[in-house]
Amino acid sequence: MITGFLLIAFQLVLVLGLSPLIVGVIRRVKAHLQCRHGANVFQPYADLAKLFRKEPVISTTASWIFPATPYILFSSTVAASLLVPTIFAPMPLNFAGNIIALVYLLALGTFFLMLAGLDAGSAFGGMGSSREAIVASLTEPALILSLFAVALTAGSANISIIVHKTAILQGIVLDPPPHLMALVALFIITLAETGRVPVDNPATHLELTMIHEAMILEYSGRYLALIEWAAGIKLVIFLTLLANIFAPWGIATAVTPAALGFGLLMYVGKIVGLAVLIGFFECMFAKLRLFRVTELLGAAFILSLLALVFFYILRV
C-alpha cells in the first residue's frame, strides 16, 4: 500500500518534471537541424516559471469555463499519465482504468479546451476548436484500435498489464507483423494528438495552419502555463506508450532500488531518443493541408485494422 502510493507520487513527480525537458529537447533538435543555435534544453522550465508569475488577462466576454478549463485539462491529463507505466509495471493505479479510460480522460481535456476556444468570442478560437474537433474524431478510433491490436497479444486491455506482459515476453519479438503495424499507426497518432508537424505546428501562430495554438490563443499567465505543461505531459504520455508498449526493455517489474534505478535510466533514455526522432520528423516533413490530414489518419486506422487481421491470421 505504502509502496504503491510512493510509486504513484514518484511517477507524478517524474512526469511533471520530465515533460518540459522533452519539449526542450525537441526544440533544440529542430533548431540544430535548421542551422540555428537554439535555446538551452532547460528553457521550457524557465518559460513555465515566468508564465506562472505573470498576471493573466481574462476576456470580459468569457464565462467561468475559460478560467476553469486549464485546471480540468491539467488534472485530466495528469490522471491519464498515472495510468501509463513509466519505469515500473504494473502501476499501482492500473486497476482504475484501461485503454478506453486513458483515451476518454484525454478527451475530457480536449472537450473543455474546445469549449474554452469558443468562449472568448474571437474567430481564431472557434477555428481552432472546429479543426480540433475533426482531428480528434479521426484519431480516436485509430488510437483505440491500435492499442487493442497490441492488447490482443497481452490478453489484456489494461496498459500496465500490456506493458508488464510484453516486458516479460520481450515485446515486439513475439508478434512482429501486428506489433510493427500498430507501432507505425500509434506513431502517426502521436504526431496528430500532440499537435506536431505534419498535422499541426506548435511553433506557428498563422491562422491558416494553427489548431492547438488557435484554441489557446486567448490564454496568458498561469492559465497558459498549466495548458503548456499539460500539452508537454500529453506528449510524454504518448512517447511513453510508444516506448514501453513496443520496447519495454529495462522496465522494472520488481520494487528493488537497482531495478527502479535501471528502469529510470532506460526510460529517460528511450523518451529522449523518441523526442529526438520527433524533432527530426518535424524538420523532415512539411505541414499537411487540413484536409490531407484525414488521409494520414485514415492510413493509421487501416494499419491498426491490418494489425488486428494479421494477429488472428498468424494465430490460425
Binding site: 470580459t60 464565462s63 485546471y71 474546445m114 468570442g121 474537433a133 483505440i144
Partner: protein
C-alpha cells in the same frame, strides 16, 4: 402491499388526468394538480420499480375481461421493474420541470387537456412495460402512441407541427402493424395471447417462424426506437412536441421498444439463437449510432440535434444488446450477460441525460423563444444553473469520465473487445471494428456537444433574444438538477447499479455475473476478469479532484497572488462583436467536408457584384443543405406509389350519396353470394 402501491399509482395518474378538468379556466391550479400528481406517481413508481427489481418472485396480477383472449393482466418481473424504475425516475423529474414550463402555454393551450394527455401518456408507458397479455399490450401500446401523437400536435396551429404529427402517426402505426404480426405468429403456435403461453410454449416455434419473428419484432419495435432507416420521424416529432413531452418521448418512450425487443428475443424466443441475429442487431446498432451522430452534427435546431442523438444512443444500446446476443448464440452466458447489462445500463443513462438535455433545450426555448442555435450565445452568464446542468448532460452524453455515459459505453466496449474469445474469425474481426466505429461515434458526439454547448452558452449573445434571456423558474431548475445529480451518481456507482441490472439479465441468460464483475471489494468494475480490463470511476473521480487541487496549489505556489486582469478580447484592432464569432455552420464545416460522401452536401453561393467594380460584392447569399438520403431514396418512392394508387382509385369516389349506397348494396350482394 405491492397491489396497494400499484392501486395508489394508478389512482394518482387517474386523478392527474381528470381532476384538472374540474377547474375550468384556472390554468395555474390545473397545472399544479396535473404535474404535482404526476410527480407523486413518479415517486410511487420508483418504489414499485425497485420492488420489481429486488423482489424474489415476479408479481402477477390477473384481471379477466369479457372479451375473448383479452385479460388485463400485469406482471412485474425484474425487466419490467427496471423499466418502471427508469420511466418513473425520468417522469418525476420531468413532472417537476413541467410545472414551471407549462406556464408558457397559459392562455394558448388548455392546460387541463395537456395535463390529461401527459398523465395518460406516462401511465400508458408504465402499463406497456407491465402488460402480460398481447392483446392488452397492443391496446396500451396504441394508447401510448396516440396520446404522444396528441401531445406532439399540441401546437397544431403551426403547419410543420401538423406535418410532424402525421409523419409520426404513420411511422408508429407501421411499427404497430409489425408488432401485431409478431404476436399473431405466437398466437398461431400457442393458441393463446397470454405472454405466459409465449414464454412457456409446449413446443418451441419452428425455425422458419422464429426467424420471421426476429425480423418482424426488429422492424416493429425498431420503428418506435428509431433505428436507421426507420429513424426519420424522430427529428420531426421530437422537436415539434412541447419540451417536457420531448424529454419523455426521447428519454423513455423509445426505450419501451428496447423493452419489447429484449422481451421477445430473450424471454419469448429464448433458446439458442443463430449467431447472425446478434450480428444483425449489432450492425443495426452500429449504423444507427454512427449515422445518428453524423446527422446530429449538421443540425442547428437544438431539439432536432438532440433527437438525432437519440438515434445514436439507441444504436449504442443495441450494440450492447447485440453483443450479448452474439455471445448467447455461442453459449457464453457470462459474456452474454455482460452485453445485456451494458445495453441496459446505457438505457437508464440515456433516459437520464437525454431527458436532462431536452429539459435544457426547453429552458432555452422558454428563455429565448427560439430553437435555432445560431441565435443563442452567451447564455451561461445569463442562465448559470441551466448552463451548468446542460454541461453535465453534455459531458455525460459525450461519455467523458467520470459520468454515467462513460461507464455504460465502457461496458459496451468491453463486450466488443471480449470478442477475442469467440470461435468465429469473422466475428473476431467485426466486433473490434464495431468498437472502433463506437469510438468514432463517441468522438463525433464530443464534437457535437462542444458545438451545442459552446455556441449556445459561451461567448457573446448572437441575437436580442439571447441578450435578454433570463434564468428559468425554480421548478424547472429543480427538475434538471435532479437528473444532473443522477448523471453523476450513476457514473460513480456502478457498484450499486450493475448488481441490479444483473438481476434483470439473470433469468434470460441463466447465470448471475455479479460475482465476476467486481474486484477490490466492489470499488472496481472488472468484467469477467480484472486481468483483462478494469475501471474504477470513484477512484478516477478522486484522482481528478486531487489533481485539480494540485494544479491550483502549483499555480498558487509558483504564481503567488492570484491577481487577474479583465479586458476585452483582441479583435485585430476592432471591437469583437457576435459577428466575429464562429457560427454553428462554420464549426462543422471540416466534418461536413471530410464525410461529404455521407452528407452529399449542396452549397449555393450567389454573389451580386457592385456595378463599379467586380472586386466588391453588394450582397452575398449562402445556402447549404445536406441530402436527406433516406427520405429521398426510401420514403419518397413509397409515398409516391401510394399517392399514385390513390389517384387511380379516385374515379370511384364521386362524392354522391346514392352512389355510395349503391356500393354498399353491391358489396352486400357480393358477400351474400360468397356466403352461399
Amino acid at each position: 402491499m405491492t397491489e396497494l402501491l400499484l392501486s395508489a399509482l394508478l389512482l394518482a395518474y387517474a386523478c392527474g388526468m381528470f381532476l384538472p378538468l374540474c377547474f375550468l379556466s384556472r390554468p395555474h391550479i390545473q397545472n399544479v394538480i396535473a404535474h404535482g400528481l404526476a410527480a407523486v406517481a413518479g415517486g410511487l413508481g420508483i418504489v414499485l420499480g425497485l420492488i420489481g427489481l429486488l423482489g424474489p418472485e415476479p408479481l402477477v396480477l390477473f384481471l379477466p375481461s369479457s372479451i375473448p383472449l383479452l385479460t388485463f393482466s400485469l406482471r412485474l418481473d425484474s425487466l419490467s421493474g427496471f423499466f418502471v424504475l427508469t420511466i418513473s425516475l425520468v417522469g418525476l423529474a420531468v413532472s417537476v420541470f413541467a410545472s414551471g414550463y407549462v406556464r408558457e402555454f397559459y392562455g394558448r393551450i388548455p392546460v387541463s387537456l395537456l395535463g390529461f394527455l401527459y398523465n395518460g401518456f406516462l401511465l400508458s408507458m408504465l402499463l406497456v412495460v407491465m402488460a402480460d397479455n398481447a392483446f392488452f399490450f397492443l391496446i396500451v401500446w396504441e394508447l401510448m402512441s396516440l396520446l404522444s401523437y396528441f401531445l406532439v400536435v399540441s401546437e397544431h396551429e403551426k403547419p410543420d407541427v401538423r406535418f410532424a404529427g402525421l409523419f409520426y402517426l404513420i411511422m408508429t402505426h407501421v411499427g404497430t402493424a409489425f408488432i401485431l404480426v409478431t404476436f399473431l405468429m405466437f398466437y398461431q403456435e400457442t393458441g393463446s395471447l397470454a405472454f405466459e403461453a409465449f414464454r412457456n410454449g409446449e413446443q418451441p416455434l419452428p425455425e422458419g417462424l422464429r426467424t420471421l419473428v426476429f425480423w418482424t419484432a426488429l422492424i416493429g419495435f425498431g420503428a418506435k426506437a428509431g433505428i436507421v432507416p426507420l429513424h426519420v420521424w424522430l427529428p420531426y416529432a421530437h422537436p415539434a412536441a412541447p419540451s417536457h413531452v420531448s424529454a419523455l418521448m426521447s428519454g423513455v418512450m423509445i426505450k419501451t421498444a428496447i423493452y419489447g425487443l429484449i422481451r421477445v428475443y430473450f424471454d419469448f424466443l429464448g433458446g439458442p439463437f443463430p449467431w447472425w441475429w446478434g450480428f444483425v442487431v449489432l450492425l443495426v446498432g452500429t449504423v444507427s449510432a454512427l449515422l445518428g451522430v453524423m446527422y446530429a452534427l449538421m443540425e442547428h435546431d437544438l431539439k432536432s440535434l438532440l433527437a438525432f442523438h437519440s438515434v445514436e444512443n439507441i444504436g449504442i444500446i443495441l450494440m450492447g444488446v447485440g453483443t450479448g446476443m452474439v455471445f448467447y448464440a455461442y453459449d457464453m452466458p457470462h459474456l452474454a450477460a455482460l452485453g445485456v447489462i451494458a445495453g441496459l445500463y446505457h438505457t437508464i443513462n440515456h433516459a437520464v441525460f437525454k431527458a436532462l438535455l431536452f429539459m435544457g433545450a426547453g429552458s432555452l426555448l422558454y428563455a429565448t423563444h427560439t430553437r435555432n442555435m445560431e441565435e443563442y450565445g452567451g447564455l451561461l452568464r445569463r442562465m448559470p444553473w441551466t448552463g451548468l446542468f446542460f454541461l453535465i448532460g453534455a459531458v455525460s452524453i459525450s461519455a467523458l469520465p467520470p459520468t454515467n455515459g462513460f461507464v455504460s459505453e465502457w461496458l459496451v466496449f468491453q463486450g466488443l473487445f471480449l470478442s477475442l474469445e469467440l470461435p468465429s474469425l469473422f466475428l473476431k474481426l467485426m466486433l473490434p471494428i464495431a468498437a472502433a466505429l463506437l469510438a468514432l461515434t463517441g468522438a463525433l458526439a464530443l464534437a457535437c456537444f462542444a458545438k451545442a454547448f459552446g455556441l449556445s452558452f459561451l461567448a457573446l449573445p448572437r441575437s436580442s433574444h439571447a441578450r435578454h434571456a433570463q434564468e428559468v423558474p425554480i421548478p424547472m431548475r429543480l427538475g434538471m438538477g435532479f437528473l444532473a445529480g443522477l448523471c453523476l451518481l450513476l457514473g460513480l456507482g456502478p457498484t450499486v447499479v450493475v448488481p441490479l441490472l444483473d438481476r434483470v439479465s439473470e433469468p434470460f441468460v441463466g447465470i448471475s455475473i455479479t460475482g465476476r464483475m467486481f474486484e477490490m471489494g466492489g470499488w472496481t468494475l472488472a468484467p469477467v476478469s480484472g486481468e483483462f480490463s478494469s475501471l474504477s470511476t470513484p477512484v478516477l473521480a478522486i484522482v481528478l479532484i486531487g489533481l485539480t487541487g494540485l494544479g491550483l496549489g502549483l499555480a498558487y505556489v509558483l504564481g503567488g497572488k492570484g491577481k487577474k486582469r479583465f479586458y476585452k478580447t483582441w479583435g485585430c484592432g476592432l471591437n469583437v462583436t457576435a459577428r466575429n464569432e464562429y457560427t454553428a455552420t462554420g464549426f462543422v464545416q471540416p466534418i461536413k467536408r471530410v464525410f461529404s460522401t455521407i452528407y452529399q452536401p449542396t452549397v449555393k453561393l450567389e454573389t451580386e457584384l457592385l456595378e463599379e467594380s467586380r472586386y466588391f460584392a453588394r450582397r452575398r447569399h449562402f445556402e447549404f443543405t445536406i441530402e436527406p438520403v433516406f427520405l429521398k431514396y426510401l420514403y419518397n418512392p413509397v409515398v409516391q406509389f401510394f399517392s399514385t394508387l390513390a389517384d387511380r382509385f379516385r374515379v370511384i369516389q364521386a362524392g354522391s350519396l346514392s352512389l355510395y349506397l349503391a356500393y354498399i348494396f353491391g358489396t352486400l350482394i357480393l358477400l351474400l353470394l360468397v356466403a352461399i
